[in-house]
Amino acid sequence: MSTVTYAGTEVTVNDEGFFADPQQWLEEMAPMIARQEGIPELTERHWQVIKFMRHEYETKGTGPTVRVLGKTSGVPVKELYQLFPRGPAKVAAKIAGIPKPRGCI
């Protein structure tokens, strides 16, 4: 665990950079986390995925895998990888301030 500052607020993240407490996340932190993940600017499509991640986490207690994202977020798998080249579920979860989704498929 370590502490980082996003949008002027200190938050706790784990060794991989995922939020230890999703409650600490604020929307204005997302662009900065995204830049660290190699995404210079968040488009409307990025936000669609990020908000979906938050919603899934809040209702189910866990973030969706890429397959689930592709089926239910309204963004197809091919586009998900264009938006988040380093791994859609993993990177979107990090930007959305939720734990890394666990799932094999």
């Binding site: 890429v66 397959r67 592709g70 798998v77 791994g87 498929i105």
Partner: protein, 155 residues
């Protein structure tokens, strides 16, 4: 933290349902982690990207002690089909995609799908027999070029 794996090349050589899924899951998982991934289909594994055959992959019920089924029973007509159907239902309940759907999704993730030239020649399989997501039929030498700098996993 130990060094991360950046790239994997996964060889699928088996033509049974249980022989194909592990390689697909590993390739899909590699892309989900942001790694570069290539899939190389060889020998009976080619069936996983064969237009006419990829929907009909079966579980081997003979010579498969993991099924806990007597060998003589596994050889009875229809047993393989029944066991395959049973497994497919269980997978569907867990939202695990069928082989055709899974292969298509893996291609969408940006993984490269390739078929083995020696096997294609051996079975008389041409480019037209394979699903469109297969990028090329390549030699073993070309496979090693593609795999350079990454891990190779044989399944």
């Amino acid at each position: 933290m130990a060094a991360k794996i950046e790239k994997v090349s996964i060889i699928i050589s088996k033509g049974s349902l249980d022989g194909v899924y592990p390689g697909l899951i590993m390739a899909n998982g590699a892309r989900a982690e942001g790694m570069e991934a290539n899939l190389f289909f060889t020998f009976f594994g080619l069936d996983a990207v064969h237009r006419a055959r990829h929907e009909h992959m079966k579980i081997a019920t003979v010579g498969n002690p993991g099924l806990h089924l007597a060998t003589w029973a596994g050889g009875l007509p229809g047993v393989s089909a029944v066991m395959t159907h049973y497994m497919e239902r269980k997978m569907d309940a867990l939202d695990i995609p069928s082989i055709p759907e899974f292969v298509e999704m893996i291609a969408d993730t940006g993984a490269g799908l390739y078929a083995c030239k020696a096997s294609a020649d051996l079975f008389g399989i041409t480019r037209e027999d394979l699903i469109e997501q297969v990028k090329d039929i390549i030699t073993v030498g070309e496979f090693y070029d593609l795999a350079a700098g990454g891990e190779i996993i044989f399944t």
